[in-house]
């Protein structure tokens, strides 16, 4: 039975994931190592990598902060409209990227209130970096919240209450009691955010203007290469993105295993008593 299950899972993974990714790697190196390297250090590609990194970093920071806050609010508080709020959290998953971009245009495009206001302040939102950050923020929003809410629910408020009675203020409680407990959930959510932000394509295509060497992220550069019939180039850059994400995920796995032995003893946060 065990053997059968494992085989089936291997086949499933191979058919769905390993096969296509192997194909991607083969294509990326199809022209040889020199061609691969040439494609990856082209000015457009390098610019794409930098831009993607910038956007990812900013989105990561905002998402971790606001995601944590939202998770704490959802887990710790009861208020009217909570279910509604919770339902909204996962909605970005189902919004197609074209619509995501389109929504932003509807909100801050020319002729809208917000759009004109930004215009008078000489701030470019659409077809510039801010719009790209906003749409990436939108699509990565669920990750941190989804990771943290169950954890916060599980660890309960006993420790925090105890700390409060001992005279700690809110910030201290958060830093010394809550944060260490949710640390891993945060890191995992952050990792997923990074991975998703790196791979975002559709929405950014719509709101960035796709201006060469100005607003082309790595994924947009891949698309440009693809429609320029430069398949090797497209696959090469895609392979790099993939490798980065995979690396981050593997590091996370390793660090988790390494440190779990240490943290198990030192953390004594009581779980919710059934």
């Amino acid at each position: 039975m065990r053997g059968l299950f494992i085989s089936v899972v291997w086949v499933y993974f191979a058919a769905l994931l390993i096969g296509p990714i192997a194909y991607l790697c083969v294509q990326a190196f199809g022209g040889g190592l020199t061609v691969f390297l040439n494609e990856v250090v082209r000015p457009e590609a390098v610019h794409g990598f930098w831009l993607t990194a910038e956007i990812t970093l900013i989105v990561l920071l905002l998402n971790v902060i606001f995601g944590t806050v939202t998770a704490m609010v959802l887990a710790r508080q009861r208020f009217w409209g909570q279910t509604f709020l919770s339902g909204l959290i996962d909605l970005p998953f189902s919004v197609s990227p074209v619509i995501t971009g389109f929504m932003l245009i509807l909100l801050v495009g020319p002729g809208t209130i917000l759009g004109t206001w930004f215009g008078t302040m000489e701030m470019k939102i659409l077809y510039a970096l801010p719009a790209m950050i906003l749409v990436t923020l939108f699509v990565t929003f669920p990750f941190v919240v989804r990771e943290l809410t169950p954890i916060l629910l599980a660890i309960g408020t006993e420790s925090e209450e105890a700390a409060r009675t001992l005279g700690a203020n809110e910030w201290q409680i958060f830093l010394r009691v809550t944060l260490p407990a949710i640390r891993w959930g945060m890191i995992y959510g952050a990792t997923l955010t990074i991975a998703r932000a790196i791979g975002e394509f559709g929405a950014v295509l719509v709101v960035s203007g796709n201006i060469l060497q100005l607003t082309q992220t790595a994924t947009l550069h891949i698309y440009q290469s693809y429609v320029d019939f430069n398949y090797v180039g497209a696959y090469a850059v895609a392979a790099v993105l993939l490798a980065v994400s995979f690396l981050i995920l593997m590091i996370l796995e390793l660090v988790k295993t390494r440190s779990s032995a240490v943290t198990e003893q030192s953390i004594s946060i009581p779980m919710v008593q059934p």
Partner: protein, 358 residues
Amino acid sequence: MRIPPYVERFSAVARRFIIASVVSCIVASSALFHGVSVSLAGERELMLAIYSVPKEAYENKLIPAFKQHWKERTGQDLRVRSSYGASGAQARAIIGGFEADVALLSVEGDVDQIAKAGLITHDWRKGADRGNVSASVVAFGVRKGNPKGIKTWEDLTKPGVEVLYPNPKTSGGAMWDIIAIYGAGMRLADPKQGPAEAQAAALLKRVQKNVKVMDKSGRESVTTFERGIGDVIVTYENELLPRIKSGRPMDLVIPAETVLIENPGAIVDRSVDKHHVRDIADAFVAFLHSEEAQQAFAEYDFRTVTSAKAGFQPAKTFTQPAHLMTIAELGGWDKVASLLFGPQGLWTGAVEDLARGK
């Protein structure tokens, strides 16, 4: 002094937090500067929105040549920013706030939309060559050696022939392709068999029946064809020629009845006035109509629009189809587009009929 354990842990967290804040501040401030157009002393910037097909022509020849000319003429260093994408998407982006100074698109309908939105305030059709900068014809790409012997539009309707063209809703090129089918249908109509329009509609349906894939842009259609899908692709001639030149196993077939594709280029008044680059934009458009630019276009397998000029010899000669039609002959862009693609359009109806099995 003994450091309490929670302070140690706090320090670790706080340390990370501080590093993160510092890094993000640096990043955020660089992000803000992105939005500000950095204009160095003496450097002016021109923003172009171009449809996807002529990218190589512009990037490799036309833009560098123009920058050179401008420098020679005025001594100014010019920075040209360019964006390539589907014609319709570019038009919508401009309408949606993308501040391109010049729009070089694939179909006049898209330029009209920009004009309708109030961003182009001059009559762009009054310019040189009626506002068009390049041309091509609708042609077939077939597998090398033309194993299925595809030569005419009727051949596309034969059972077992798989046809490729993109979705006209998202691709200007596809609109040209389908207009060509319609034009051919009108031309080939037998007056004894009833109204020409009905016969053209029937041809549209018969061809559409053999279409299994509709990509969202012309370029993507070609990549699909190159991947081995389909027996014939209907697209711009200038898309097929470079691929054939670079060794792809395909052949070009120009049907006897086909449509002349004309690609417009116009200044976006509101942008040029806002950026104070009207002089550059005007010069650029004028340059595109010049012989030098038209030769460059010909090098990249575009047909030129200035062949009427006395003494102008394009770099290469193109096959002249027996019955070349222009959009004007067929009734003008607006009329034909709504006739074919509107909610009650001939093409729209054909698709729906086919789905219902009629």
